[in-house]
Amino acid sequence: MITVDNLSLCINNKQLLKDISFSANKGDIIGVVGYSGSGKTSLLKSIVNIDKKATGKIEYSGKLGFLYQNAKNSIAPNYKIITQVCDGVGKLKLAKKLLGKLGLDDYKKSYVDLISGGQQMRASLAINLHREPNILLLDEPTANLDEKNTQLVVKELLSYAQKTDCILIWVSHDMKLMEKITNKIIHINNGTISEYTDTKRFFKSPSTKQGKDLLQPIPIKKNKNKTGDIITTLKNVALGYNNKPVIKDLSFNVSLGECVGLFGESGIGKSTIFRGIMGQLNPISGTIKKSDNIQMIFQDARGALNPKLTILDIVSEPLGNKYSAEEKKQKVIKILNKVGIDESRIFDKPNQFAGGECQRISIGRAFISNPDLILADEITSALDSYNKNMILKLIYDLQAKFNTAIIFASHDYEAIQSISHKVIKL
């Protein structure tokens, strides 16, 4: 049983949460949904109240557990997995059983850096379940996982919740999953609860407009293929390291206004092609003719923004020295409006933005100097399906506006097909 009363959170004069009140009974599975940056993660953190900045009353009985989205950072790197699951001294039998159930039998004696992302999340889950919490807070546990791992994690969580009447408070973007497993939905908008109802009712008819938007997938119409001049040509290119080709005999053209999809599993050499086009890597054979005005968008949006600079400095960087400070600022504000970042935040640093927002800023930065060619390297892979659709739509809109050529690399065929005019399978 948990009761949250008038919970508010204010950091650096910014109201992140305002008057959040709700309560949940034993056995409830509550889904917390909302836009990226609306305060879902802040809500979970305030319930735990690690940094004691939240105000309001929180009452609960039993133990709290917290499963982080980034499992790797929540597991100490220097201890064996099994040691951490049983906290060094706890019930070893239960720990072994949990790891067995989660398919980690072979990795008991391993360390967190040596196992894959999905295994890390399962290990983190085992650590949490071993403590037998009565309330478990989950911060997008399945966002970075593939289908198989997602099913494993969800199944284990649900069976635990059923067995112990544990309350799950589950933050997620995955609407299909939320509809399937939760019995109540909290819809957060701008730091306040805009709706708290049964799952069935929420998915049948959300009472607010934002709720309706949340449920609708964004339809993407394909650009009309109005191609211009050829910008970049690859002819019989072989690329690789130490004279060992990773890519052999690759030829294609990219013209202005065209989007070329590069489809292939991770590790097949998509990034190598990009390094060749950027000029960081010389081709072993063949020729690459390219434009000088190239920008790139990366998979890890946060890593692509210098944490010490303000958004204004980051986004205006490609403009060079041609413009005055005031002109630069105007241009930055204009492009940020297009990608949906509020202009009052131009002096914020990247760590004040959510993951999806960081990717928008990267996109704005790539488009600001009106480049001929944009290389997009798995830009939607780290995002949840909701953010993915938003980003794809954004890229689509901006491309139509700026008439830029895009090479879009991904292992997600659906995403590639939705925006590219031709697809190259590697």
């Binding site: 950027m278 190239i294 790139m296 990366f298 890593g303 692509a304 210098n306 960087e317 490609p318 930065r365």
Partner: protein, 260 residues
């Protein structure tokens, strides 16, 4: 009380300033009637075996020590830091040459460097600065090399390159702000080490010429009059311990503030 190290650091710099402006008769005049005198109103910490005022010698000494510390850090930071920033950029064969040279420098004892230089030029404050500076180059090179290498490989540097920034622009806009706190913490800790290093050199008579006091040369004087006046060691020793401790503590503070 737990932030006392801050006040000690401030006091050190104030005493450095006062020491810079202090006329030489205060710390060099010999009061022959009061040799090896104990604490009194005229001589706050007493006098040494030549009748010179210990308090003023300590203040002047802090100025000399501070100048040696700051200058040697500046020299090593500029040389080692610049080399490290350049070498961490790309995998080139130059990297092995420079790293090898730095490693050779690292195994070269600073006392030996100082001895060679003193043998050629005679003892002076510049010699102390250069020999401690050379001794610090490998430390700064390694720290900055390791921390900047990961920044050079980050995505935001890649996109800065695509935007046409030169390598020096990238250094100042992207690399240095991201390793700034590491450099600052290292400088602070090196300052503490510089004080101790100077004491070592001064004790061997390799630091400054005899007209100027430093904490190291005062330690040498203590040894000469050890049986007559052992008390003389206490003020300098305490000052040295407190100052080095405070700087090390402060460097830890910088590290902790930025690792959150």
């Amino acid at each position: 009380m737990h932030k006392i190290y801050k006040y000690i650091i401030i006091m050190f710099f104030i005493s450095m300033l006062v020491g810079a402006l202090l006329p030489s008769q205060y710390y060099n005049d010999m009061d022959m009637l009061n040799r090896s005198a104990s604490v009194s109103v005229n001589h706050l910490f007493g006098t040494d075996f030549l009748g010179r005022d210990i308090f003023f010698r300590m203040i002047r000494g802090s100025y000399n020590v501070g100048i040696i510390g700051i200058s040697s850090i500046l020299i090593s930071l500029l040389i080692g830091g610049f080399l490290a920033l350049l070498m961490s950029r790309k995998k080139t064969n130059w990297r092995y040459v420079v790293s090898g040279g730095i490693d050779i420098l690292f195994v070269f004892p600073k006392v030996l460097v100082a001895l060679i230089l003193v043998a050629i030029f005679g003892p002076s404050i510049q010699i102390a600065i250069i020999s401690i500076g050379i001794f610090f180059i490998p430390v700064f090179y390694r720290v900055i090399y390791l921390s900047s290498r990961s920044v050079w490989q980050s995505d935001f540097v890649a996109s800065a390159r695509l935007s046409g920034l030169s390598k020096y622009q990238i250094m100042f806009v992207h690399i240095i702000p991201n390793i700034y706190h590491i450099i600052l913490a290292q400088c602070t800790i090196q300052f503490a080490i510089a004080i101790v290093s100077e004491a070592g050199l001064g004790y061997l008579g390799l630091s400054v010429d005899s007209s100027e006091p430093t904490w190291g040369s005062m330690m040498l004087d203590v040894q000469n009059s050890w049986f007559i006046d052992p008390y003389f060691a206490i003020p300098v020793g305490v000052a040295m311990v407190l100052t080095t401790f405070s700087f090390i503590k402060y460097s830890e503070r910088i590290k902790n503030d930025n690792s959150r």
